[in-house]
């Protein structure tokens, strides 16, 4: 750890990476929401020939021509993908695949053929050379600042400004393009403007981090944020946070003397890892929380079924009390009924009687009564109003009793006014 310090060189690299990642991550939120993630991927690959041609024509690596070349090719890509779909009747994914791989291949050939003697090399296209960013400095306001940092910082400012200025339009187009059209927002214009912004951010980021990290940064922060929140404003903040973490942690790991490896590659790995964490542990949309939710639901249903079973047992005045094993066996065995039994015991809804038998406590009986009441009211409703035969009403009622709210139960009661269910059993009174 002691030789893992941050000097000014590292700080410049991290700052550059943060600007690049945040700019891409913010734009990416809209790509993810509009299901255009792969269009971002396609554009970031396809701008390569635009870059090379601009480089060949201007004979320099100045930002202006490259930016224009890349934006033109970016828009051309988006247009071609749509044209192949519309006029060639090629499916969307295939038309993307055709367009961006062909353009990328063209770019690589052009580089190898015409630009091999300069700084563009096919490997750097993929993973960039952010390590060398601090070497190429320009003077700004009396400070020596790396050129890439200035460019990417400028791109970040423009992206933030554009999002802030067109926040309402972007929101509506992202969530409801038809509403946007009826409100007079030109959805196609927003689409192509977004594509142009993606192309511009991509080309600015290209030199530093290469096309692969651009793809990671366009998609991973937005998707991670989409798992963590439902509000767009929060999503943008989270995406920015993910992008910053990828930059800092990715660089620290890559620069660690024992690894000493590709910074851009490590940043994409860190972005992917954050997404993986969100996939599993996001509070509402994560896999684990969904799993826990399902387990909790099945436990509640099992517990309520046990209460209902004990209530009906008491109601039938069977002599021998019901044992735990009998209950578990009646519910087809397994872990769930056992856990549900434990929970009911712990919650004081049931208590142990002689031997392994259990019986309802006062509070358990009240809850069981209201469940059975819902069940039987629902059965009566199904029989009376939907005309279901008697042997068909139990199963739907058994499923519904767990989900019917007290208000609906009382409405059913008021409408039916029955004292008995269709099987002739008494409907328990309201608690």
């Amino acid at each position: 750890m002691n030789n893992w310090s941050i000097g000014p060189i590292d700080a410049w690299i991290i700052a550059t990476a943060i600007c690049c990642n945040v700019a891409c991550g913010l734009l990416g939120c809209f790509l993810v929401l509009r299901r255009m993630s792969l269009l971002g991927d396609a554009v970031s690959h396809a701008i390569l020939p635009g870059l090379v041609i601009a480089f060949m024509l201007s004979n320099s690596r100045a930002m202006g021509p490259m930016l224009i070349g890349a934006m033109l090719v970016g828009l051309f890509t988006a247009f071609m993908i749509e044209a192949l779909q519309r006029w060639g009747k090629v499916p969307e994914d295939a038309s993307m695949g055709v367009v961006f791989t062909s353009l990328f291949a063209l770019g690589v050939v052009l580089i190898t053929r015409y630009a091999a003697n300069v700084d563009l090399d096919p490997g750097c296209v993929l993973y960039g050379l952010i390590e060398f960013v601090p070497l190429d400095r320009i003077s700004l306001l009396g400070h020596e600042i790396p050129r890439a940092t200035v460019t990417l910082g400028f791109v970040l400012v423009v992206v933030v400004f554009l999002i802030a200025a067109f926040y309402k339009e972007l929101t509506i187009v992202s969530f409801d393009p038809y509403l946007a059209t009826t409100m007079g927002i030109n959805a196609a214009l927003v689409h192509y403007a977004l594509m142009a912004a993606v192309a511009a951010a991509t080309v600015a980021a290209f030199e530093a981090v290469g096309s692969i990290l651009v793809v990671a940064m366009l998609i991973a922060p937005g998707a991670t944020a989409h798992l963590l929140t439902d509000r767009l404003s929060r999503m943008l903040w989270i995406a920015a946070g993910v992008a910053v973490v990828s930059a800092v942690v990715g660089y620290m790991l890559a620069a660690h003397p024992r690894l000493n490896t590709s910074v851009a590659g490590m940043m994409s790995v860190v972005a992917g890892a954050q997404f993986a964490l969100a996939v599993f542990f996001a509070p509402r949309h994560g896999y684990v929380s969904k799993l826990l939710h399902q387990v909790a639901l099945s436990l509640r249903i099992a517990a309520e079924d046990i209460l209902g079973m004990l209530y009906r047992w008491e109601e039938a005045r069977r002599d021998a009390p019901l044992t735990r094993d009998q209950i578990v066996a009646a519910m087809a065995g397994g872990l769930t009924p056992r856990l549900a039994l434990l929970r009911l015991l712990r919650g004081g809804h049931i208590e142990s009687a002689v031997g392994a038998a259990v019986r309802l406590t006062e509070s358990g009986r009240a809850r069981a009564g209201s469940l059975v009441r819902t069940h039987r009211l629902w059965e009566s409703y199904l029989a009376q109003h939907l005309g279901l035969p008697l042997d068909h009403v139990h199963e739907p009622a058994q499923r519904m009793e767990h989900f019917v709210t007290p208000r609906i139960t009382e409405q059913l009661d008021a409408q039916l006014g029955a004292a008995q269910d269709p099987h002739g059993k008494e409907i328990p009174p309201a608690p």
């Binding site: 499916p91 695949g97 062909s102 291949a105 000493n260």
Partner: protein, 436 residues
């Protein structure tokens, strides 16, 4: 020039081997890619190929040598892992497949770059073997590699041939296949597995970045030529084979050229050609068909205009002036002139000094057109309850494409009601107004 001659005369044993390998790869990818494209799995191949890179690096760590077989096994494991990740994210979270593909592709590839740089930093590190997998270097394949490729390609082609009917059903209507009791899920998995294997053996020749192109482009190009799956698969195989040959040959001629980009560009060339020149679905054919249809419609409109002018005047022999025809419809003078000239050439109209009259053949054709128009108008007024002042425009759009059987049925109905046999029924609205 010398290299070129040596190349096309296949003088080097090594060149022969490499070209054979590339051709086999191209063909197999074309065949499997056809199913992948139809099953809408085209871009999953891209994720798979990118995800394979860390597998190749891991194999290098484990085996410590440039072993072709070990690389392929590592690539297969990680590629499959990548596909599984995509399908897990798609089924268990709200993230859509496209975003999942993008993330898996980039973070796995990033991992691959990280690992390859670490290997390069090792004292004995030799990343030449790894770099070839990024953009492909078919020229480095040796006899045993090609033998392995041939074996795998043979197995894939045999499986596809045996299960051709099942796979086609799966691609066109998976739900129907499942409802018919086919093991649709297992067929799907088998298809994915074949796709994985094919992608992985393609990596040495085309590289992880562009492998997806070899799956997608030949299939998409072949789709333009035919509506039959068997033909499409065969064509895709052929296009893949030729792309592999041309691209590899091009890369072999220039020593520092990677093989992937030329192969993909060759395939893209086939795609462009197919898209433009395919006989039925191609862009040119489509343009020609539309042009023909437009011309036919314009001609029929001219005939109907002349007929209705004659009908209003009570004499078909009296010529109508150009301005009269022009004002009967919303068309431009140049378009009308061009169309009148064509009608004269076709012998449907006689024209002199800007005055035009229908010939006998022209009048017969005009009667047919007007009949179709008015029958359809009557149908719209009486059956679809559309106001008489609206039917002219509606009928106008459809009269040119009404099938004869439908006209016969409409006619039969009017005849039963005793409103025919006039050769041309009465128009349900006043004739002679300028149509909107």
């Amino acid at each position: 020039m010398d290299t070129f001659l040596r190349l096309i005369l296949l003088q080097d044993a090594n060149t022969r081997v490499v070209l054979l390998g590339a051709a086999l790869l191209g063909m197999t990818s074309g065949v499997i890619g056809s199913f992948a494209v139809l099953r809408r799995r085209a871009l999953l191949g891209d994720a798979l190929a990118h995800a394979a890179l860390p597998g190749i690096c891991t194999a290098y760590f484990v085996v410590g040598d440039k072993s072709f077989t070990a690389f392929l096994i590592g690539a297969l494991i990680f590629g499959t892992l990548g596909v599984l990740c995509v399908s897990f994210v798609r089924t268990h979270t709200r993230i859509k497949e496209d975003a999942a593909i993008g993330i898996v592709l980039s973070s796995f590839f990033g991992l691959g770059i990280v690992l390859s740089r670490i290997i390069q930093n090792q004292p004995a590190g030799n990343r030449a073997g790894l770099d070839t997998y990024i953009y492909g270097k078919a020229a480095l394949m040796v006899n045993q590699d090609v033998a392995l490729i041939a074996l795998v390609a043979g197995v894939i082609l045999i499986v596809v041939a045996l299960l051709f009917k099942e796979f086609s059903l799966l691609c066109f209507d998976r739900d129907f296949a499942a409802a018919q009791g086919w093991p649709a899920m297992w067929l799907d998995i088998l298809l994915m597995a074949l796709l994985c294997v094919c992608t992985v053996i393609g990596l040495p020749a085309v590289g992880v970045v562009l492998m997806a192109a070899l799956l997608i482009i030949p299939a998409a190009a072949a789709r333009f030529w035919t509506e039959r799956l068997s033909l499409m698969v065969a064509l895709a195989g052929l296009i893949g084979l030729l792309s592999g040959l041309i691209g590899t040959a091009a890369s072999a001629m220039a020593a520092h050229f990677a093989a992937g980009p030329p192969v993909v560009l060759a395939a893209a060339g086939f795609f462009m050609f197919s898209m433009l020149f395919a006989p039925r679905r191609g862009a040119l054919a489509d343009w020609w068909r539309r042009r023909k249809l437009r011309q036919r419609i314009a001609m029929q409109n001219v005939l109907r205009a002349l007929y209705e002018i004659g009908e209003a005047a009570g004499a078909f022999e009296r010529p109508a002036s150009f301005d009269q025809i022009l004002s009967s419809r919303a068309w431009t003078a140049p378009a009308l002139t061009e169309c009148l000239e064509r009608a004269v050439r076709a012998g449907l109209i006689r024209g002199r000094d800007d005055r035009y009259v229908l010939t006998d053949a022209g009048r017969r054709e005009a009667m047919r057109v007007v009949r179709a128009h008015r029958l359809w108008e009557i149908f719209l007024v009486e059956q679809a309850a559309i106001a008489p002042d609206h039917v002219d425009r509606d009928a106008d759009q459809i009269e040119h494409v009404l099938p004869p059987e439908l006209l016969a049925r409409l006619e039969e109905r009017l005849r039963q009601e005793g409103r025919l046999p006039a050769p041309v029924p009465q128009s349900p609205h006043p004739v002679g107004e300028v149509a909107p």
